[in-house]
Symmetry: C2
Subunit: 396 residues, 2 copies
């Protein structure tokens, strides 16, 4: 299938000899722009790279308003071929499918330059540039080589300003990166919200004692305390619909097999489409951490590191996607995205929604990431239905 | 108090500028031998360093048999002043207390050269040399500088062979290194067994997935699995008298706050005076690990790293210590040592027992390690009673 072949071809363009890696404004990204930009031109689009490094192809219509479609072209380290890229290629092929036929609106296909946050440790540089929220703090941020975002942008060379006329809607097609559609055996889903996220670092402080000479009753074991709380985190999330809560990082000090852990630090990641539900969970988990620590005669430090609100996507754009799916006989489930996406950055100022394409096995950020050809075909048909609908009914 | 002052003086003899450190056959150890050896000579003892590096002072009696007393002179990194050293100094002061009076037996005071295992990663080199169980594997073992045990011994220079006439009994006085006596407000305890020890590495294998996009019901979270098992370990040990079980080391991979842990490895340390009780516990914990992993659709690898049997100390030597304590009005508790000691190495061939001296706060292997002067005085009086008893009643 052409779309999949193109994604696989792009996966070969890498700045690393170990798997696919394309970071913000890298030479690999320039090669990627040349290839995708070439396809855009062949489809009759005018192509530019804006001052935030985003690749932008405009297929001019008969009117002045613009429909925006696309996703990002950068990758994580040792990436798969489809995360982000598939959404750009689908948008491109939707334009190709017009065979040069002009619509009453422009279609702009965007390949955002930076979504994953690899080079500067901060994600969404491309989409933040697009909506004009790149602040000085971010522009002065430096990569591992000491080059700032601003310097990297200056050195790269661009043909137009990132900020332009507002599109009237943004559609982002993207692999799910999770197992929900695959386990339900569904090709696509419609994202109606991006989950808000809390990140917390939790430290339990007790006493490091000899594992052989300290009776169980006299221990102040922080690893056992953390274990009790990790189970409470899991239990809390399981009992609350739509909530995910994860402890993924743990450090026990001194971390020796024959010494009771005197200090254990764990991470907490909590996400939900409702900020209230998320905040309630975080507060309860904080109280539970304190109670478990107290019961065990330990102390506990709670450090909130992130409190990012949920983003609701646009009801009208969601409704258009629903109708477009129904036309294919698909009642697409509405779902919350647990991961952040460019649509999250655009949504506050541009009516936006996302179509998720099934991720077999839920696998992403890994060379084993795949998509099914029949699912991509469904997504393409839904995209065509969206364009038809907008052409026929939207008052432009 | 003289004994405590001497321990504190010895703590200044270090090969590290950061706290006390004296490893096997180091220059610091040589200085330590000179100081302690000098005190031995002043007390009328003949002094030598044997071929395993042990400092040996013999106070000759009128008979040929030998009573052995002492402990070790090496330390861990950033050590306290009393672990091991106190037992050597108490033995020395018991000889000093004779004021030159000859007994019907020799008293040999031994300062073992190596108990902590710092330099070669293997403990008890001194006592293993003493009883003649230094094998080729250990003699060929190399330190961080690539020097073997055998080479280190050759380079150091010694005045006598380690192996000699068997002593008729060995008494080791040692700080408890645990909180039992302190929490019971008791000065001393009598060790009747050294716990056997199992060490296991347990790996849970699941799937590393995105913390935001993977619903709770579709996770194969190895850190949550490990947490459940860590609580089972704690519960099992709490419900079994005399058992201690510890998970002190944990590694979750990839160890990122936003990724569900796909692989978690933990250590298990189980100790008990009864090998049967210990083996039963290890088997049950293995079954529980397998059951918890299975319930969670994970796999589990169980790797036994150590299975060291318990050591019973000598009933007659224990009885002598009990009588000696009773003479001071003390009904000394019998206790299991959860940590290994030189007496464990000597016990199979030499009737041995240990007297534990209270460790305030249970603290050891730390500069904050202390002893109470009144407890050391009790230990010295008990030691004198032991010598009196042996002088009066033992058929030599």
């Amino acid at each position: 299938m052409k779309a999949i072949d193109r994604c696989l071809e792009l996966a070969k363009i890498s700045e690393s000899s170990y798997g696919t890696l394309r970071t913000f404004l890298s030479e690999a990204m320039r090669s990627c722009y040349e290839l995708v930009g070439g396809w855009m031109r062949e489809a009759g689009m005018s192509v530019s790279v804006d001052s935030a490094g985003n690749l932008r192809g405009v297929f001019a219509g008969t009117g002045t308003k613009t429909l925006l479609m696309g996703s990002h072209l950068d990758t994580v380290e040792n990436a798969g071929a489809f995360d982000g890229i598939l959404g750009v290629i689908i948008a491109l092929e939707l334009v190709e499918g017009l065979n040069g036929r002009r619509l009453p609106f422009n279609i702009e296909v965007i390949g955002f330059s930076e979504e994953e946050g690899v080079r500067f440790g901060v994600p969404f540089i491309g989409s933040r540039g697009f909506v004009g929220t790149l602040d000085d703090e971010l522009l002065n941020r430096k990569d591992a080589a000491g080059i700032s975002v601003a310097d990297a942008i200056r050195a790269y060379g661009f043909s137009q300003d990132a900020k332009q006329n507002q599109p009237f809607a943004f559609f982002e097609f993207h692999i799910e990166q999770g197992p929900v559609l695959d386990s339900a055996n569904e090709a696509v889903g419609i994202v109606d919200a991006i989950a808000g996220q809390s990140r917390v670092s939790v430290k339990f402080i007790g006493a490091a004692n000899h594992a052989g000479t300290t009776p169980m009753s006299l221990r102040r074991d922080t690893l056992a305390c953390a274990a009790e709380w990790i189970l409470a985190v899991e239990e809390r999330a399981k009992s609350s619909s739509g909530l995910v809560a994860t402890v993924g990082r743990i450090q026990a000090v001194p971390g020796l097999s024959n010494v009771i852990s005197g200090e254990t630090t764990v991470s907490l990641d909590v996400r939900h489409a409702s900020d209230q539900a998320r905040e309630n969970a975080v507060l309860e988990l904080r109280n539970q951490a304190a109670a478990i620590a107290k019961k065990r005669n330990l102390s506990m430090n709670w450090t909130e590191q992130l409190d990012q609100p949920a983003t609701s996507l646009d009801e009208q754009v969601i409704a258009i996607l629903q109708a477009a799916a129904l036309k294919e006989g698909i009642t697409a489930r509405k779902m919350t995205s647990g991961a952040g996406h460019d649509a999250m950055i655009l949504a506050p100022t541009i009516p936006s929604a996302m179509l998720f394409v099934r991720s077999p096995g839920g696998i992403s950020h890994d060379p084993a990431e795949t998509v099914r050809a029949e699912d991509v075909a469904v997504a393409l048909r839904i995209g065509r239905n969206v364009i038809d609908y907008l052409e026929g009914s939207l008052k432009i």
